[in-house]
Structures are given as C-alpha cells and as structure tokens.
Symmetry: C2
Subunit: 418 residues, 2 copies
Amino acid sequence: MSLLPSWVESANLPDCPFPLNNLPYGVFSTKDSDPRCGVAIGDRILDVQMAEELGLITLDHGPAFDVPFWNEVMEMGPETWAELRRQLTTLLAQGSEHQTDVEPMLVAQSDAELHMPFLVSEYTDFYAGRHHATNVGTMFRGAENALPPNWLHIPIGYNGRASSVVVSGTEVRRPWGQLKSPDQPLPAFLPCRRFDFELEMGAIVGMPSDGPVTVDEADDMIFGYVLLNDWSARDIQAWEYQPLGPFQAKATATTISPWIVTKAALDPFRVHTPKRDFELLDHLKDTGPMLYDIDLEVTLAPQGQAPTSLTKTNYREMYYSAAQQLAHHTTSGCPMTPGDLLGSGTISGAEKHQRGSMLELSWGGKDPLTLATGEDRSFLQDGDTLTLSGAAKGDGVTIGFGTCTGTVLPALEDPYKR
Amino acid sequence: MSLLPSWVESANLPDCPFPLNNLPYGVFSTKDSDPRCGVAIGDRILDVQMAEELGLITLDHGPAFDVPFWNEVMEMGPETWAELRRQLTTLLAQGSEHQTDVEPMLVAQSDAELHMPFLVSEYTDFYAGRHHATNVGTMFRGAENALPPNWLHIPIGYNGRASSVVVSGTEVRRPWGQLKSPDQPLPAFLPCRRFDFELEMGAIVGMPSDGPVTVDEADDMIFGYVLLNDWSARDIQAWEYQPLGPFQAKATATTISPWIVTKAALDPFRVHTPKRDFELLDHLKDTGPMLYDIDLEVTLAPQGQAPTSLTKTNYREMYYSAAQQLAHHTTSGCPMTPGDLLGSGTISGAEKHQRGSMLELSWGGKDPLTLATGEDRSFLQDGDTLTLSGAAKGDGVTIGFGTCTGTVLPALEDPYKR
C-alpha cells in the first residue's frame, strides 16, 4: 500500500487522516447549505449531493444523495459501494480531468458542521473484548469466574436503543436513574454517580438479511466502521441488569464519530482475531482476517483544561470480529436491516493504560486515576470532555476516523420540571 | 357504558368484537387494492384512505392515510387522535347522514388480508407479570429467590428487535441456535428444542419524548394496544442470557394482532394495578387506573387438529402498567419515538390454567400438558398453531382485539444452504 496522491494538496500531507486512500462518508452543513452527504478529502469535504446533481457522480440505482444520510447508498449494495469509490477516486486523483469542475464542490471542514452520517435502524452492543470482559468479570465475580461459560463460544451481545445514538460533539446530560446503594435497604431515584465511557468501534450493516448468514456473508454485508462511545451509568446498571441485562444504564446516549470509514479503505489493515481457547463452532469460525489494526486513544479534558490521555489500545484486541458478531446476530433468523449499528464491545488491552472504560481504569473506583491537571478521577465528572480517536497507519498512509467527542452536562435539577 | 349503535348492522350483534365503541385501526389489502389503512366495524373494514381522499375524513395536520401504516396519525398527536375518533363515530353511527357515501367504502373482513398496522420504530419487552416472574424465578433459582431484588421496584425490561415483529398469520420458522445441554461439556449449533410462546399485550407509543416523563405523561403518550406473542427459544436463552440478557432467543419473531385497539376504546375498562409490597418511588407511582380489564386466552392446535385452550388470564394481572413501563423507559433520558412497541411481559395468573407460556404450563417440561387430542406437550412442536385472543367485556359491549396467531414451521435442514 502507498499513498494515492490527490490534487487536493492537504490530502497528501504526512499523517493527514483523510488521504485519497480513505474517502470516508459523512453528512455536513454550512451556513449556506442544509445537511447533505459529503466525503472527506484532506481538510476539505466534497459535496457529493452537488456532484451527483451536476452529473459527476452517477450510480446505476438512481440518485443516492437526494437525502442527508447514507442509507440509500447502503441499500444499493456492494457493487454500487465499489462503483462509488471508483468514481470518487477518479474525481479526486492527482491529474484528474475533473479537477476544475470538482473544485467548486469542496467545502473547508472548518466551515462545516457534521451530522449523523446515517439513520440508525437498530443498535446492538456486544461484549466481545476479552480483557474488558475479564476485568469486569473479575471485579464482579472474582478472577476464577471472570468469563461467563458462554463467553468463549459466542459473541455475547444485547440490543441497545437506536434513538439514543448521537453524533460526535453532542453534549451528554448525566442521567437520573434508580440506584441502590449497598448501605441502603431500598433504592432511590438520583442522578447517576458512576457515569462512564466505553471505547468501542461501531460496524454499520449495509445489506439486509433474511435468515442466518455465514461469517463470509456477514463480512460482505458490512458497509463501514465508526468510533463509538457507549456512555454507561454503572450504578444504574448494577441495580437493573439482573436478570435481563442493561437497559436504562445504556440508553442516555451512544456517541459515534461523524465519518463512516469504508471497509474498502480499511482492507489493507485486516488482521486475524487472537488465538482461541476453544475452537469456535463452524458457523462462527474465522475464515480470514476480519479484525483491523486500528490504533485507538481516549483523552479526558476537565472543563476548560488540557486533556489527559487515559488509554491507548487497538481494535485488534477484540476476541470476535464484527463479521462474527453479525453472523451470530442472524442465527435465530433475526432479520438485519441496512443502517443497523453493531458496537464491538469495550476495547481494552492487557495493560492498565490500555483499558477502555473508567470502571476498569479506576478498578471500580478503588484506584482513581490522576489526571495531568492533578485532579483525581474514578468516574466522569460534570464538564469532562471525552474524546476518542482512531487511525489505521501503515507505510506513509493514515486512514483516520476523526474524533468522537462528548462533554458531560450536569444532571437536571428536577428531571420532571417542564 | 352501553353499546353505541351503528348502521353497519353486524356491529350491533351481541359479542361482536368490533362495535362502534371499538373502531380499531389496521392495514388491509384486497385482491383489488394495495395495503391501506382501515378501521374495523362489525364484519367490515372502512377504507379510510378512500374516506380521506373523498373528503369524509379531514384532519388538521394534512393527509394521514396516504401511507399504509398508522404512524402518521400517531405523530399528529392526541388531539388529532380524538378528532379522528369523533369523525369515524359520526360517519358510522346509526342515523348518520353519511351512510350512503360511506357504504361503498366498506370491505368485508373475509375479503381482506391484514398487514402490519404500523412501522415498529423500536421494540422493548418487559418482565412485569408477577406470577410469571415468580414461576420462572422459582424454576431457575428456587422459591426463596424467585423475584430478583429489583423486581418490586422497577419494571424490568430489555430491548428487543423491531425487525422481527410480524403480523398475526405469519408463519414462524423454528430457529437454530447455540445450545449447551447440561450433559455435554461444549455447546452445539442445533435447531431449538424448547420453542415457546409468551402471552403478552403490546402498548404502542404514539408521541415522542425528549427527557424523563411522568406516569401521567406516559399514559397520554400511548396510542393503543395489541395482543403480542413473544416467541421464545428457551434453550438458546438458557445458554446466552448471562450476563447481558436474552438476545437471539427472542429475535426469531414477535407476533402482534393486526388491529390497534385505541386507548379511548379501552377507557371504560381501566383498572388499578395489584396491591404492592413496596411503595414505588414517586416517579413510578400509580396516579390512577392504568391497567385494563382484558380477558385473554391462548389455544394450541396441532397440525390439522382441533385447538385446546391452554390458558385463560387477564391483563389486569400485571404488576406494572404500560404507562409505568414507559415512564421508567425514559428515566435515563432515552428518547422515545412514535411507533415504539412495549411488550408487557408474560401475563400469567395465579392458577396453573392461567399461565402464559409453555415453560410455566409444563413447569420447564417436567409436567407436560395433555391436549384435547390426547397428545402431550412440554414445548411447541412443528405444525402447532398458537392463537392468542383478547377482549374487554362489559354491559353488552365487547372491545375485541381479534386474534394473534402463528404456526410453527420446522427448522431449516441446513440454515446456510442458499
């Protein structure tokens, strides 16, 4: 792999997250335009709505960019996904005959506001990082029983709430919820005291299914990936989650990064899943490298202060790929829909500085972190800004995801006051 | 309350499920017409698309019936819901001046096929029947620990899969899944052996929320109710559900009855929730009668044979109302959307013949039922047709739900064969 040069000069700079090799998909607006689909290139965004209107992009299945979300492209299927990428590459490559026509369709990223890149059909969150599951299991059940018996055989997941998925930059209000303190006989309705983040990747399903699909078919169905922060209210979760799993603890918000990085852009960074303790059953078996080597980092900035790096890890730490998760998701015949979002589960590495949540970093609050500002943190405080970032890097090419950020607002004083 | 007479004579017959007092909302097609919105009256369906096109129904917020689902009416809000009911009542009442105009807009129910009455935005399933939770808890954890500690304080629920919700009459394919027999060291991928039904009511959310809502506000947000069968693969569930709850066990299908019975029609049948062991916290407290006195029955017919009544119970058995469930659902700030469907949880009475699932009726398979045909049943067999029915009855008026039915098809021989 090597850098594909573009006539958009900023795309060719070292470490630029959006070279011609990337071409991630988003939705943007400016002070002069309503939200519309765009493609990041260097420090610009190509207005693909305009490009399609003026005939520079033409897709077989009719207009794709008459709506401000990418679901229509997804529904056109993988041949169209490949065709669109070819057309975009041709338009933006160094020496393109279309440069003069395309130049007026570029908007500076600094002038654009980014919106949700797609309509989330349904949202599923997995629990497929071994270090995370081991850390959490050790805290709750002891090291001997850390991993539930099913964990090494199926990617454990639960359905989340699509309506709560928001784009990077959206402020997140600390939730109220029913909690029970260990020292109290009865629960109380209070603002969450243990608000947390979870560092995850999100896989976006681009094709429907009608019956079980194989791991290879599942990989084909994936349209692209985003960074994902699964905001979590640990104290609400502790009280509610038995026996049917997390519910309100995970429903306040889930933040995703604004650019969908396509599977095609990530293809050079495919890696295998880690060594397994048990061979998986045939329908979940690895058939090739379906994880990706993506460096991930999380920083925390207290209100008005400099950020501290909390964790650095990599997506390749996952025990199950998104393709395996999606294959498992369909085993029951569950129909999948374009726009379904699959959270990977929290991505933690083996080391302390590689852990993907405050719960793990502060070991349930027993071992608070000290930030660069000198402050301690066990869980998130009001005003804290969390920022996830990620990039696949190799040989002078960076495939960046941009950032996935959110600031914690204080809980409402009275959540029922109108 | 008394019967409101209609010029549609069949609507005035004793025990007719669809008198003028009911006016439930569905979507139907005939051999001559595509799916469209309709209202059941007696043994007919009023084609409200045609009624609106010809100016007999006019709603302030513009056309509601240019689409074959009821979500647009929901989104118009409670004043429009009341206005529509007034207009329908006027059109169909005995002595209506519109009889001659409306008569050509009636279709015989026997000539119509019924479709999903609304687009399901997201689907949440609760676990709010005390007898059911006690039965299941006793089987799994013993009588002493039957109810989890949180159960009497919050309506426990989990997010289900909206894409799997189907209308009555849809055949349901026995799923495959990962199971682990107690006598085997490792799991296997097999067709489900313990396929089950769950008798539930579904509440349809008609208004959005943006922050926590009170129980009264939640009650206002509910558009109507349907019968709901939450098909459940007990053996898949047993292996997968720890620690994050049911996932593929509940994703094969959930069947709903085709007619949305409005909250207005059910209003005379409001009843209080049962006596509580603990006072609920303020935000979940009962503020009035928000359950309904609805008789429910389930029958099972083996392939080609007569049905046996499995259970008779009543929606009033629930410990939490749909309004309480919806209020709880918003505590975290989780945004609710018109078209969200809330399953009540399995509705079981105190007696054996009032249990709402095979799991309870056969006590986990230890005490099989004997059907009228002489066959035994612990769980569902291929070819079995399950039929839920329900009606609120009082003083010569029946508010019927129609039926919610589905036949179990055998598992695919090879689920991956295309």
